[in-house]
Amino acid sequence: MLEEAWTLNGSVALRPETFGALAYDFTTRRLSFLKDPALVDVVRQLRNHPNIAETLDAVGISDGERPRFRAALERLADQHLIVRRNTQ
């Protein structure tokens, strides 16, 4: 997953809050909570970088934090809040 290109799902909107952000999927009507402002940065930046690893570099996520971020991104992928980006 780390080497792939991902992006925020087009049907999902993010609303900043002090704890991170609310994420709402207008298609599934599901509301989720991103409980870390750095995770919100990562999710917003995914589209600007060739893959997740480079996004984590750009946002400044340390090596020790990466397993936690990877697990969070996998959960977001399971919920289709983030989706694979077509780079062709």
Binding site: A13, R15, L22, Y24, F26, R29, L31, S32
Partner: protein
């Protein structure tokens, strides 16, 4: 002892919710007090249109403000929202401005054509109200012919291909025994069942003593909710029941003024949909705009302060039930820092109950209503003369 506990830095998500968010998560907008029905337990005492109702342009400006605040969706109710001539225009306007809508309806106006249009529109969800799984249980509460109308609306929505719309049930003494039947009706229509708590607000205060579930029924409801899990929605209605054991799915928190609020048909903003009373009025969108009321109203600021449990502080269940529902306490004349009137530990029995507060408004019908509640033993006001009763018996509501 002070009324406000020390404020800790928020660490858990629920702490952030207690201290309030920049914009509500769950905003209910009662679009009109007008209703074709006269349900005995109506939270908003609806019936007659208020002449000061927000105009179409005012409604659109409010939707613009919701969009600016990123309020992703609103729950539209009433009254019966579809009786506003501009309802469908406002629905389209909200969707065009990225404000999703879930609206509550009694179903009378959900024709085949409307159902097809709704099914074709993303961002719109429909909630059909039904308070009995049989006409015999439903119609005394909601009115003659209302069972058939709700089922017909759900048939139309299913046939149009609408998926996962909501069947919304207020749980009463009369229908707790029908939970499996409600689930079947929802399943048969490809709908999701949503159960909510009867509140003693509006006309609900008049029927509360007769209709609120008995203690053994509360246990039955809790066990049923635990068994059915997240498949059944509750709008976080039943957190007072968490004192029975494990917490139910949801935030288990009174969201009033923190993550929840109500905008009424004349633009007044209240702390929650169950508290349409001047004591819970935060301000008006007409005076200050919605965002200013949400962020700056003194009432909302006080609700976002940590609350103490008062008489409940020493109870072993306080951490799970948090003293229950503020509105249920207020409208039954109980102190706000004491137990819920339906406290499952039975502590409400030891509370000195004051006078019920006088309603601060009432839009109930004054004349004859075509689909009046079937007069059996439950009735808000027994008819004083035969003329008060309709002479005909025609055939004719993570988060959620």
């Amino acid at each position: 002892m002070t009324a406000v506990a020390e404020r800790r830095a928020p660490t858990r998500l629920v702490d952030h919710f207690e201290y309030g968010l920049d914009a509500p998560i769950c905003l209910t907008w009662e679009l009109t007090y007008a209703c074709n029905l006269a349900c005995v337990h109506c939270l908003s005492s609806s019936g007659r249109r208020d002449p000061r109702e927000l105009s179409t342009d005012e409604c659109k400006a409010l939707i613009d403000e919701f969009e600016r605040m990123q309020i992703f969706y609103v729950n539209i109710g009433g009254g019966e929202p579809t009786v506003r001539p501009d309802f469908w225009e406002l629905l389209d306007y909200a969707v065009e401005h990225h404000v999703g809508v879930k609206f509550s309806t009694n179903g009378f106006r959900i024709t085949k054509e409307r159902a097809e249009r709704l099914a074709a529109t993303d961002y719109v969800d429909v909630q059909v109200s039904l308070d009995g799984a049989t006409p015999e249980v439903n119609d005394p509460i909601r009115g003659a012919g209302t069972y058939d109308a709700a089922i017909r609306a759900m048939d139309n929505l299913r046939d149009a291909g609408m998926k996962d719309f909501k069947l919304s049930v207020v749980c009463t003494r009369e229908n707790i025994s029908q939970l499996d039947e409600f689930k079947k009706i929802a399943d048969d229509h490809g709908a999701q069942l949503r159960l909510t708590r009867l509140r003693p607000a509006g006309r609900g205060a008049d029927v509360w003593q007769d209709l609120h579930p008995l203690p053994h029924q509360q246990r039955e409801l809790y066990d049923w909710l635990v068994a059915n899990g997240e498949k059944v929605l509750t709008g976080d209605s039943f957190f007072h029941l968490s004192a029975f054991g494990d917490a139910l799915p949801g935030l288990n928190l009174c969201g009033a003024g923190r993550v929840v609020c109500l905008v009424d048909p004349v633009g007044d903003v209240y702390a929650c949909p169950f508290a349409i009373h001047e004591n819970f009025l935060a301000g008006s969108i007409r005076d200050e705009g919605f965002q200013h009321v949400w962020r700056e109203a003194e009432l909302f600021k006080s609700l976002r302060e940590p609350q103490t449990g008062g008489a409940c502080s020493s109870c072993s269940a306080y951490d799970s039930c948090r003293g229950g529902c503020m509105a249920a306490k207020f409208f039954t004349g109980m102190p706000l820092d004491g137990p819920d009137p339906e406290c499952v530990k039975g502590n409400a029995e030891f509370v000195t109950v004051g006078d019920r507060p006088a309603p601060s408004q009432d839009h109930s019908h004054k004349g004859t209503v075509r689909n009046a509640p079937v007069p059996v033993k439950i009735g808000r006001r027994p008819p004083t003369t035969m003329c008060d009763e309709s002479p005909v018996n025609p055939g004719d509501f993570v988060v959620g």
